[in-house]
């Protein structure tokens, strides 16, 4: 097994490029997502992205707001109770970003198809309605016939649809904890991260905590993402901020509204990036920017007890820095 730890700067430089098909996960609108990774993509000026995300989140909201997204496939594009995703919606209604709508179930089924290396997945949902008939890729035709084409069940003769399977070039997946090899445990709903980790051609994990592999040996049933499918591991505390990470921190209510309001305009987005995306390089600078008072509030989560079984395996900041040096060496 190889130590796959990498800095967030190196991981973004190596695993992302202009024009790529980029997938992020869990892509929850309020909870888990690899948001820190998306911010680093903004810093490195990635553009013309084809984004596959199960749901909209503050990550795709930001990427679309800065004009980096050409196309997005999504099951739900909003931020739940925090409102419509202003940056993404601005990009969609202006015509800058093409959106291909599916349902939340469909996105998971399509990752499953990609993980199986199936060319398509039978569709019993998203058919006979506008998710089948409206295609951002083929807008001139209504009803569209190529997005979820009609097929026939060879056994019963029933008409079904066919979902195109998903094989994104790279997936950046947020996990609660990972070891240096890429074994990972996720607390809270997995959403589609299990299938996504097998569907993507390359997988970068972004972990709130780095733990010793002894943790995985104690709870092997909970290790749903395995080293065998992972290419790089990035340590980034409060990775999902301003969203939540189950067991570690709640969503930052104040910042969620503030950030989404800023995404409404190009000027607001620029101002937001200047204040909240550009100023830091290291995890400690990032934490300083959020501020100790805010961090204390967010980490006083009702879900904190879920972390109790794992605490003894968590690597300290110093240990992670040493492991990162070893990986470079």
């Amino acid at each position: 097994m190889r130590n796959k730890l990498m800095s967030i700067q190196d991981a973004v430089a190596k695993y992302t490029w202009d024009g790529m098909t980029y997938c992020h996960g869990a892509a929850f609108p309020v909870g888990s997502d690899s948001i820190a990774f998306g911010k680093e993509m903004v810093k490195q000026g990635r553009k013309d992205l084809n984004v596959i995300c199960h749901c909209g989140s503050s990550q795709v909201n930001l990427l679309a707001a800065v004009g980096a997204v050409r196309r997005v496939e999504v099951g739900f594009s909003g931020l739940e109770v925090y409102g419509f995703a202003n940056g993404l919606n601005r990009a969609v209604t202006s015509g800058q970003t093409i959106i291909e709508d599916y349902s939340n179930g469909a996105m998971a089924f399509r990752f499953f198809g990609g993980a199986m290396n199936w060319p398509f997945v039978p569709a019993t949902v998203n058919i006979c309605n506008d998710q089948q008939w409206c295609s951002g890729d083929d807008p001139g035709v209504y009803p569209a016939t190529g997005k979820i084409p009609t097929i026939t069940d060879p056994f019963t003769g029933q008409t079904l649809g066919a979902f195109r399977s998903l094989r994104p070039e790279v997936a950046a997946i947020h996990v609660t904890m990972a070891d240096i090899y890429g074994n990972a445990i996720m607390l809270g709903s997995e959403w589609s991260r299990f299938e996504m980790s097998r569907a993507a051609q390359k997988v970068v994990l972004v972990a709130d905590k780095i733990v010793d592999t002894g943790c995985m040996r104690q709870y092997p049933n909970l290790v749903r993402i395995i080293a065998e499918v992972v290419d790089a591991v990035v340590w980034w505390p409060l990775c999902s901020w301003p969203q939540a990470s189950c067991g570690l921190y709640d969503s930052d209510e104040e910042h969620m509204f503030y950030m989404n309001k800023a995404m409404k305009t190009a000027e607001g987005t620029e101002d937001y990036c200047r204040k909240w995306v550009e100023p830091y390089t290291t995890p400690s600078e990032y934490l300083d920017l959020i501020g100790p008072e805010k961090i204390a509030k967010l980490t006083a989560t009702e879900t904190a007890f879920l972390m109790d079984p794992y605490r003894k395996w968590i690597k300290s900041d110093v240990e992670v820095a040493e492991l990162l040096d070893q990986a470079k060496g």
Binding site: A26, F28, V30, G31, C55, G56, V74, G75, F76, S77, G78, E80, V81, Y82, F84, L88, N89, V92, T93, G95, I99, D101, S103, N104, G105, A106, A108, F109, T124, V125, N126, I127, C128, N129, D130, Q131, W133, C134, S135, D138, P139, V141, Y142, A144, Q158, T159, L160, G188, S189, E190, W191, S192, A244, C246, D250, S251, E253, M256, T301, E302
Partner: protein, 263 residues
């Protein structure tokens, strides 16, 4: 006790939820109605979310999302979307659900995707919407797969329209046996609960008619607020007022008062 229209709508929706049902709940009114039912009259309700969060009740106020820590602090199981929306919902196993609607039409088709100057079905092509909403989320999977489900919507003429701009989640499509012809395993929407009354589908045509109205509303007001020729049940009823216990229970669930702020 005084109450708001939103509170009444949540209570009336909750009354449609039966004890022992396996039910999938979304954020906002959906969770409030579901957890109200559990507290009020359905102690053996089995609620879960799209993310596969099972066995939990919210702590600290209304969850910000289906995966919020407020709904994850006392779960008995965390699984995933393929389990919740696939194995339990699209498969046909789930008994009930509550979904919201920006627009709903005479056959219970729901739009949560966008608002167009000229909708794609009329224009004959797909242009970006004037207003982008959120997309279907899991509601399409629910609309196709759940044995039955409830639609909650604010009763306004711009929302209750003859034909929605975009079908995000199919009700009875163009009526009759259209769902069966599409092979949908679920039974379709059993009711639309609005801020003014309860609409139910005609057993044959599947067009929604007025079954009952709230005491502060009237048949005329509801017909005026509906964009299709709304038929009225011959034995149209007044929905029973919320009891004191129901109001206590809805306020226990809605501890942050989100329903009381909306009038």
């Amino acid at each position: 006790m005084e109450y708001t229209k939103q509170e009444f709508m949540a209570i009336v929706t909750g009354r449609e939820i039966k004890d022992g049902q396996l039910i999938i709940l979304g954020v906002g009114l959906s969770m409030l109605a579901g957890y109200f039912a559990q507290l009020n009259h359905a102690p053996n309700l089995m609620p879960f979310t799209e993310g596969g969060v099972y066995g939990s009740t919210p702590v600290g106020g209304l969850p910000w999302g289906i995966e919020c820590n407020r709904i994850s602090a006392n779960a008995t199981s965390f699984t995933n979307a393929i389990d919740a929306l696939g194995f339990l919902v699209a498969s046909g196993r789930c008994d009930n659900a509550v979904i919201g609607a920006a627009q709903v039409d005479q056959y219970g088709n729901v739009n949560t995707t966008g608002i167009w100057e000229d909708p794609p079905w009329r224009l004959g092509k797909y242009v970006p919407p004037r207003v982008r909403l959120n997309g279907s989320g899991g509601a399409n999977d629910i609309a196709v797969g759940a044995k039955s489900y409830l639609i909650m919507a604010s009763h306004e003429k711009r929302r209750f329209i003859e034909k929605v701009d975009y079908i995000s989640s199919p009700g009875y499509l163009n009526g009759g046996d259209a769902r069966q012809r599409c092979g949908f395993v679920g039974g379709g929407p059993s009711a639309i609960i609005s801020t003014l009354g309860i609409l139910r589908p005609d057993p044959v045509t599947k067009q929604f008619y007025l079954d009952a109205y709230f005491s502060f509303s009237s048949v005329e007001e509801i017909q005026d607020s509906t964009g299709w020729d709304l038929k009225v049940s011959p034995d149209v009823k007044v929905v029973p007022e919320p009891t004191e216990q129901e109001l206590i229970n809805i306020r226990t669930v809605d501890s942050t008062g989100s329903l009381r702020k909306k009038g």
